[in-house]
Each structure stands twice: as structure tokens, then as C-alpha cells.
């Protein structure tokens, strides 16, 4: 395999700067090497293995260097994609990562979990020319490659400016919080991150599974932050351990950023949801990822052993839950979604991975009630079939129940993965912070809340979204906080 890649590369490199668009279009798209589905469905190791250097350079040479570069507009943080791709083609991997890091702080994470197919890769001219977005330049895989290459050689932390004497509290250590902390620290402000859990990283640690985002990668990012002098205070719940306002009035913080995530799991509100064997995806994934229940030798946190699992939902979290259940030893995992595959919010790549691993998909079906035995354990679900009707407010066709289509699905474990609501703690303990009717914190165009000096971003502002969107908002808020602190000085 590697020999053929070397051969292709050796053929391309001498004429690399003279390649015509047609020749670039003819270069074979580089597939991501994956763990074999039969093997990976029984382990928690990462599924995607990453490009080698030859593959990365071949893939980079596919870029048409089109003048409009629509990929950049597709990226929520506007990475200069053509420039970093060209560096990869040249074999200058450090140069490539340096370009990415001007805009993005977590390239190893984003390269893995960003939905590139609907962001940078969707408008890619190459994909359009080949009439297949799947054949766009694999920008995410290239980003991941250079980030991983850098990590293997040791990440160089960004330089930090001299101390400004200003203190900022960052509440939550997920993607938004990490970006805010790094950006503000670079400006020379003192930064303390407050995290309620015992390990920093937020959803990247408790939610996204090891097989999709190895925790060592998140840890490396956290270590980089610490290397820059960011303090991380774990086991600290702002709103309970300390009131939000007290951080500014008593503890001397000049500004606060709230990146607390979407924290309250939604349930279906159907009969039987509190039976034994029904979990929120949050609980199922947190037990497995954060508490490491999959490693019963090391972890003291148990997880139920299941035979036949039903996951309700169609997003990335539903895929993560289903694939986790399989790896924990379930014989059958069924994913039940009330619309069709087309409407599923999960990434196509993850749906495909799940299907290859043997997850059984049920479209246009939904649970009506969960049924248990006399001991209170789940034994089955009563489901209903649906058909697609008119589009709803989300633009997706609304599922309409088919009368009399009830049927029973046997199951011993039900995982509810239908999203999160906003955690009400900040709203309850600091009513000055204005929220909308869903409990999301309201911010202005600068990311500032209704209270001066307090900013917010990520899922607590936008509702459940992606890592990169949270990062984008963090970036904006960090810039505003820096301006606020600078103005305060004058």
C-alpha cells in the first residue's frame, strides 16, 4: 500500500507546481485507513488511523488552488485552508500547523470531530468539479494529520505576553472555555478555568468516546494550556461552590466567560422512562468515557451489561451511544429514529462507521412506552411507525404517525439520545444573567451577557451545536474580553 503511495507521490512531486487542474482532478482521493469493523466493534481504540505522510501529501496535491477558496468561508473559524494544504503538499508540516493555529486552537480535535462535509468540504471546488462532495479535498483529515504530527514532536505553546495584571475566570473547560483561556492568556491576562468535573475537557472528555477522540489528545491540549500558565481548578461548580457574582465582587476577577455547555438531558416523557436499564446518553457515555467503566479492572464505576440495546435519536450522540454499547458487549444494538436517514443530524461518516460495525437502523419508528418486568427492569418497548409529511419549521419533513402500526421491540437497555436542555443553575443562582425561553444565555454581537464583564459562548448560548462552533464563539468572546480589559485599563 505504502509503496504505491510513494510511487504516486514520486511521480507527482517533480511537476507539483506545474500540475494542471485536470491532472489534479485525476489524483486518486486518499481513503482514511480504518480499523477493521469486526475488530473495532470490540475495542475502544480509535477507529480512524490517520493518513501517513505520503497520503497527506498526495491528498494535498489534489487541491485546485482555486482563487475563490470557498472552503475558507465554509470554516466557522476561517482557517486559511489553501495555504496550509499547500504547505502539506510541500512537505512542510510544521508550516501547515502554524497556519491552522492562527485561527484554530484544537486542530487535532477539530480534524476528528468537525462535520467538514457540511462546512469547509461542502463548497470545495474539487468536489463540485468531480460532482461528488465526498471527493472534495479531505481537509479535515489533512488538519488531523499535521496536528498529530506536531503532537508527536511535542506541541510548542504559543508565546505569552507580559502580565497585564488582569484576572479572568473561565467557567467550563470544554472547547469554548479552552479557546477563551488560551487567547486571553496569550494577551498576558491571568486566567483560571473552573471545571465541575474532576478532569478538564468538558464534552471532549465525558461525551465523545475514546474511539472517536482519544483522551490523550484532549489531555495534550490541556497540558499546553497549563504550559502557558493557565490555572485549572477542577471540582469547582460555579453557582454552588461559589456564586458567579462573587467571582467578580469577592475574588477579584475582572471578567468572566461562561462556557458551561448544554447540561440537562432531555427525556421522551413517555411511560416507563424511569425503569432500570433506561439511561440518558449523557449518563451512559459519562460512565463509559469519563469514569472509564469500560475498563472494569481500573474503574470503580460500573456499567450495566446489556444483551439487546435500543438507542433513541439520530444525532452524533446517538451514534456514539450505539457504538459504545456494542463495544461494551451488547449482542444487538438498534438505533430507532423517527425520521429517515436523510434527516438524521449525525455525520454521514459516523452513520457509515456505525452501520459497518453492525448497528441496526430503524427509520420512521419511535418509542411510545417502555415496558418492564416486576423487578422494574426493561424488557421491551412499544413502538409506532411513521411516514414523512410536510416540512416543519426546521425544514425537515415532519414524521406523521401511522395509525394502528404499534409493535413491540424486545430490548433490555434503552438509551435516550434526543438532546439536551440548558442547565438552569446559573439562571437560578444569578438571575441578573438574562436567558431566553429555552434557558440559553442571551449575548450581544460581542458575546457579552446582560451583565457587564460577563461573557458567554458555546452550547449554553446556541443550544446543542458542534465543537468548532463553540470554538468560534469562544474566539469572539475572548477578543471582546480583551478589548474590555484594555479599555478598563485606560
Amino acid at each position: 500500500m505504502k509503496n504505491s503511495e510513494t510511487a504516486i507521490l514520486n511521480e507527482l512531486l517533480p511537476k507539483k507546481d506545474q500540475l494542471k487542474p485536470k491532472e489534479r482532478m485525476a489524483i486518486p482521493p486518499q481513503e482514511m485507513p480504518l480499523q477493521d469493523p469486526k475488530e473495532r466493534s470490540h475495542n475502544f481504540n480509535e477507529v480512524a488511523l490517520g493518513y501517513n505522510a505520503e497520503q497527506a501529501r498526495i491528498e494535498a496535491l489534489r487541491c485546485l488552488k482555486c482563487p475563490k477558496a470557498p472552503c475558507v468561508n465554509g470554516c466557522p473559524v476561517r482557517i486559511n485552508i489553501p495555504a496550509f494544504v499547500e504547505k502539506i503538499a510541500d512537505g512542510d508540516f510544521q508550516g501547515a500547523i502554524n497556519i491552522i493555529k492562527q485561527n484554530s486552537l484544537l486542530p487535532a480535535v477539530c480534524g476528528r470531530v468537525c462535520p467538514q462535509e457540511v462546512q469547509c468540504q461542502e463548497p470545495c471546488t474539487l468536489g463540485k468539479a468531480l460532482k461528488n462532495t465526498e471527493h472534495a479535498v479531505s481537509i479535515g483529515r489533512l488538519e488531523r494529520f499535521v496536528a498529530d504530527t506536531e503532537r508527536l514532536h511535542g506541541i510548542t505553546p504559543s508565546p505569552v505576553k507580559p502580565d497585564t495584571g488582569k484576572k479572568v475566570a473561565v467557567v467550563g473547560s470544554g472547547p469554548a472555555g479552552i479557546v477563551v483561556a488560551a487567547d486571553l492568556r496569550r494577551h498576558g491576562h491571568a486566567v483560571t478555568i473552573f471545571e465541575a468535573f474532576h478532569k478538564p475537557g468538558g464534552v471532549m472528555v465525558y461525551g465523545i468516546p475514546e474511539f472517536r477522540l482519544p483522551k490523550a489528545i484532549v489531555q495534550a491540549e490541556i497540558d499546553t494550556l497549563k504550559g502557558m500558565g493557565v490555572e485549572i481548578q477542577t471540582d469547582f461548580l460555579v453557582g454552588r461552590t461559589r456564586n458567579l457574582m462573587n467571582l467578580m465582587t469577592k475574588d477579584g476577577f475582572d471578567a468572566v466567560f461562561l462556557g458551561i455547555g448544554a447540561g440537562l438531558p432531555k427525556f421522551m416523557d413517555i411511560e416507563g422512562e424511569n425503569l432500570l436499564g433506561v439511561f440518558s446518553a449523557n449518563e451512559y457515555l459519562t460512565r463509559t468515557n469519563l469514569m472509564k467503566a469500560y475498563d472494569s479492572e481500573k474503574s470503580d464505576t460500573p456499567i450495566i451489561s446489556s444483551r439487546k440495546v435500543a438507542v433513541l435519536g439520530g444525532g452524533n450522540v446517538a451514534m456514539d451511544s450505539a457504538r459504545t454499547a456494542l463495544r461494551l458487549g451488547a449482542q444487538e444494538v438498534h438505533l430507532v429514529y423517527r425520521r429517515t436517514e436523510k434527516e438524521m443530524p449525525a455525520r454521514a461518516e459516523e452513520v457509515q462507521n456505525a452501520r459497518e460495525e453492525g448497528i441496526i437502523f430503524h427509520f420512521l419508528e419511535n418509542a411510545l412506552k417502555i415496558i418492564g418486568d416486576s423487578e422494574g427492569h426493561v424488557t421491551s418497548m412499544e413502538c409506532l411507525r411513521y411516514e414523512l409529511g410536510e416540512p416543519d419549521e426546521s425544514g425537515r419533513r415532519r414524521p406523521v404517525p401511522i395509525k394502528g402500526s404499534e409493535f413491540i421491540m424486545e430490548t433490555d437497555t434503552v438509551i435516550v439520545a434526543i438532546g439536551n436542555e440548558s442547565n438552569p443553575l446559573i439562571k437560578k443562582t444569578s438571575p441578573q444573567i438574562e436567558t431566553n425561553k429555552w434557558g440559553n444565555i442571551i449575548v450581544n454581537e460581542k458575546g457579552q451577557t446582560s451583565v457587564k464583564g460577563i461573557y458567554a459562548g458555546g452550547d449554553i448560548v446556541s443550544g446543542a451545536a458542534t465543537v468548532i462552533q463553540a470554538m468560534g464563539q469562544g474566539r469572539l468572546a475572548a477578543q471582546s474580553i480583551h478589548e474590555y480589559l484594555t479599555a478598563k485599563n485606560q
Binding site: H198, L264, E273, N274, F279, T286, K292, T301
Partner: protein, 286 residues
């Protein structure tokens, strides 16, 4: 960080620990709890705060050794640091002068009951306290409770101390008095709280119970702690831990508490072998 200042064994399976935690000591109110871990990858255990001293910056925890993690905790010594301690969590008890309050504590439940009884007394209530355990050596905090209560009734299952009865018997008697209580607070094993609620139901006396369910984060994120209260799902960690006992679906809650019994028993057994402890006897108290 989180240094253990003092450790006392209150009975065969019950320990008291005073831990340095200045922020929690300052912010906590009666009814709130903490979550601790004895190691980085250890289980997260919720425990109600029994007492706090904000000037000394310490909190007091009282716990029973029921599984591997609580056994490991009991083996920690003064001077050791608890790796992880998060709190205070949950909503504080609503304290006000309602008239007469009966505080019922079963077994280790007396520990979280104590700060509530104290606050109720300070608010001007007449406080009648009923404490119960399987037998005399399992009665805890008698003196502390006696110092607060206008009336203290002790009962044991085996009659080795106080009256030989379950706590529900004197509870019923207080409800039958001419000056019947305005509020009952019952904290103990789930089955005791269930029967306390059943005892007061015919009298229409408002009965608060404090639930200790399975929990991971304790901040509302996992939903593992959910209970049915008045037909609606509530999260113990953020909506509780206190609820109206007449509305709690105790049967479902007790079943949910048993979700991991198999795993706990295995871990408990392994832990006893590992730590060279005696095999546990029958532990359930009412």
C-alpha cells in the same frame, strides 16, 4: 487540598470525618451534599454534609461503609488529602418557623438530619427528634441531637436502647397529639422514608424526605438520579435532594437504587478480601 483533619469511628460501620474545605464550609447550607472520590478514577460518591465550621474552614461527613469506595474512604487517615471533593450541591432546605417540626432520622440518616434540626430550632420551631437504628451501637449523634431537640425519642429494632419499635410508631403518636406537628423531616433508608410518608399521609402533615440516589456528576448533566415526584421526573441533584415525601414514587426509586447491586456486592466482596476485612454482616437498617 481537602485534607482530612479528624476521623472517628462512630460504630462498626459508621465513620465521621472532618475535612478542610473552606469554600464549601462557607457556602453550604443545611440539606446540601458533596460528591467525593478517593482516587482519580474512583467512583463519585454523594454524601450529605453533616456539619460545617466556616471559621475553621471544615466540613463534617458521616458515612457508612457499604461498598468498595466507602471502605477505601474509611481507610484514609487524618493528614491524607481527598483527591476530589465537589460541593455544596443540591438545593438547601427551606428553613422557616412553622411551629412544631418532627425530625426523624434512621441509622446514618441522623447525620444529614442534624444541621436541618439545628436550623429549624434556630428559626424558632419546637423540634421533636426521633432517631432509630437496628441496635444501640448503631445510634449516632445522640448527644448532638439531644442538645437541640425539645424532645428526643430513641428507638431500636432489637430494644437494646430506647423503645423497641420502628421510628414510625412514635411518629404516628406525635401526629395524634393535640398540638400535631406542622412539618415532618424524615431522612434515612428509603424504606424508612417511604413508611414515614405513609404514616403522616392520613394526617395531612407535610413530610420532607432527603433522597440519596445513584448519581454521577451531581450537577444535572447525567440524569441518573432521576425520581418520579407527583408523576413527573425530577433530578435529585438539582431539583432536590429534598422532596415532598407524599409525592415521591418510592417503589421505583428503591428499584433504581438496586441497579448496580450485583456490581457493588462483587466489589464489596473483593474489597473485603483485598483489605483483609471481615465479611460484612447484614447491613440494612430501618
Amino acid at each position: 487540598m481537602n485534607k482530612i483533619i479528624e476521623k472517628k469511628q462512630l460504630s462498626e460501620e459508621v465513620f465521621l470525618m472532618r475535612i478542610k474545605a473552606p469554600l464549601i464550609a462557607e457556602e453550604r447550607k443545611p440539606g446540601q451534599f458533596i460528591i467525593l472520590q478517593v482516587s482519580d478514577d474512583g467512583e463519585r460518591i454523594p454524601l450529605t454534609i453533616a456539619d460545617a465550621d466556616s471559621s475553621a474552614g471544615t466540613i463534617t461527613l458521616i458515612f457508612q461503609t457499604v461498598g468498595k469506595s466507602t471502605h477505601l474512604l474509611a481507610h484514609m487517615q487524618p493528614g491524607d488529602n481527598l483527591p476530589h471533593l465537589l460541593g455544596p450541591l443540591g438545593k438547601p432546605t427551606h428553613i422557616e418557623n412553622v411551629g412544631t417540626v418532627v425530625c426523624v432520622g434512621g441509622g446514618i440518616g441522623v447525620a444529614p438530619l442534624h444541621p436541618i434540626a439545628k436550623a429549624m430550632k434556630l428559626a424558632g420551631n419546637k423540634v421533636i427528634t426521633i432517631i432509630g437504628a437496628r441496635s444501640r451501637n448503631l445510634i449516632i449523634m445522640e448527644n448532638e441531637m439531644r442538645a437541640i431537640a425539645d424532645e428526643l425519642i430513641i428507638c431500636t429494632d432489637d430494644g437494646s436502647y430506647g423503645r423497641k419499635c420502628l421510628v414510625t410508631e412514635p411518629l404516628k403518636e406525635t401526629c395524634q397529639r393535640a398540638d400535631k406537628p406542622n412539618l415532618v423531616v424524615a431522612i434515612g433508608p428509603p424504606i424508612m422514608m417511604k413508611f414515614c410518608a405513609e404514616t403522616t399521609r392520613p394526617f395531612g402533615t407535610k413530610t420532607l424526605v432527603s433522597l440519596n440516589t445513584i448519581m454521577i456528576d451531581g450537577t444535572g448533566m447525567c440524569g441518573g438520579c432521576r425520581v418520579t415526584v407527583g408523576g413527573k421526573t425530577n433530578f435529585v441533584c438539582v431539583d432536590g435532594p429534598e422532596f415532598d415525601g407524599h409525592l415521591v414514587d418510592f417503589d421505583n426509586m428503591i428499584k433504581r437504587l438496586g441497579s448496580y447491586r450485583r456490581y457493588e456486592e462483587k466489589a464489596h466482596h473483593a474489597c473485603h478480601l483485598h483489605l483483609g476485612l471481615n465479611q460484612p454482616g447484614e447491613k440494612k437498617t430501618l
